[in-house]
Amino acid sequence: MLLAVATLAATAQIKKPELMVIPSDVWCIQNGYFYEVENMGNKVKVPNYKQALQEDMGLKLAIAKLNDLMAERQFPLKSLEQTLKNIELQHAEDNLTVSKAGNDLAESPLDELARTAKCDIILELSWEMKDFGPKHSISYILEARDAYTGKSIGAATGTGKQSFTADVDVLLEEAIVANMDNFNNRLQDHFLEMQEIGREVTIDIKVFANNAAGVDLETEFDGEELIDIIQDWLQQNTVKGRFTMPYQSENIANFTQVRIPVYDNSGRAIDANGFAKQLAKMLKKAPYNIPCKVMVKGLGRAVIILGEK
């Protein structure tokens, strides 16, 4: 009995969000760590994280310092370097540069990283040295973004005191140490909000044209339209019934600001895909019996297509 209670308590434990530091796009481009690829006739600069990690000692130092400070707060960071190695192993690196062949980028490198690393929060880091005669100063930005929605969680920014020290590593370390508490305060606000009102995702529902099942969002079941049935399900399964529907027609419904529980009943972390699958499962069952296809668009967005598998 005691064992069962202990097991239940253990499974009910909420998992920690995973965090990863990456250099920002602007820092990568300013320092020459990028690919230039063709996308729809336009030249697009894509950050080359691997090159940055291999060639920039300041970046490695910054990531190590951030990891040290976050570990001190019981939040060790996920390694960008290791994640990139995993991508290589999975031959996913080609996807990062797929647009060299002239194809569209299905996912940005950031999406690719977030998906592969399965991290919850991306910490984007950039800094720049500024010279004032013999003195130097460092401008520093650390911004946290929710990997699910891409929304900014908070940032620590500042320009350090002017110093005769020209060593960028010394000034960078000082900037990181000085700004970390303010950054963590914002992170903590986000965690507390997430625990209270859930994780924010987007769910799109579409309909296959001329589908064999003959359904659209206005198809009625027991006198109730399918869109209303879906809204009722969302009302019951989102945290505090929080979601909005900015657009709806007989073929498309967009649900944004959908607050899903951080973990399902078995204690597993769920993302937009997991949540959309639960909705699809309901639609596949009687009395609806609607064939559905769930497509993933990153951690925070899923599309359910009704009518065919």
Binding site: R73, K161, A178, N182, N185, Q188
Partner: protein
């Protein structure tokens, strides 16, 4: 009748004495945390470097209160930055926490209280002036904020970053 008058007079004297005594006591209590706190530079990892200005009618009392006020300021006030000095929010952000954990903080800020573990005074930084019979004493104090935060987390006064996970 004479006894009654004497008794009433005695009561009045007691009340007046009590009132006279209460004012300085209240004033003393107010003076204890009458201070300003400023950023004095970016401290080394795990510390905040602050300049605290304490006001008191007695120079010795003002000097003695400075380190305690520095810790009090880091916990409850925070401080603004500027000129490359990074301002910080208070460690305790829930309003009313000082009252809620009154017993804890009474012990913590007692004359030989635990707050002493988290401070070191930077030598040669003392400044003092007298304005309207009140001393204003300033000193730079290094506050070990990481250790202080851990102590407050352990006491349940503040939530850790890890809270809820």
């Amino acid at each position: 009748m004479k006894k009654k008058l004497l008794f009433i007079l005695a009561l009045m004297v007691t009340a007046v004495v009590a009132t006279v005594d209460a004012k300085p006591k209240a004033q003393r209590e107010m003076d204890e945390f009458r201070y300003e706190i400023q950023c004095a530079g970016n401290g080394v990892q795990g510390t905040y470097l602050v300049r605290v200005w304490t006001y008191n009618k007695k120079l010795k009392a003002a000097l003695e209160a400075c380190p305690r006020n520095a810790v009090h300021g880091v916990i409850f006030k925070g401080f603004v930055g500027g000129d490359g000095c990074v301002g910080q929010r208070a460690l305790v952000r829930e309003p009313g926490a000082e009252m809620e954990y009154e017993d804890f903080f009474n012990h913590f800020f007692a004359s030989n209280g635990e707050y002493r573990k988290y401070i070191s005074i930077v030598p040669g930084t003392e400044e003092q002036m007298k304005v309207d019979k009140v001393y204003k004493v300033g000193i730079v104090v290094s506050v070990q904020k990481d250790e202080l935060r851990k102590a407050l987390e352990a006491a349940g006064v503040i939530k850790s970053l890890n809270y809820g996970f």
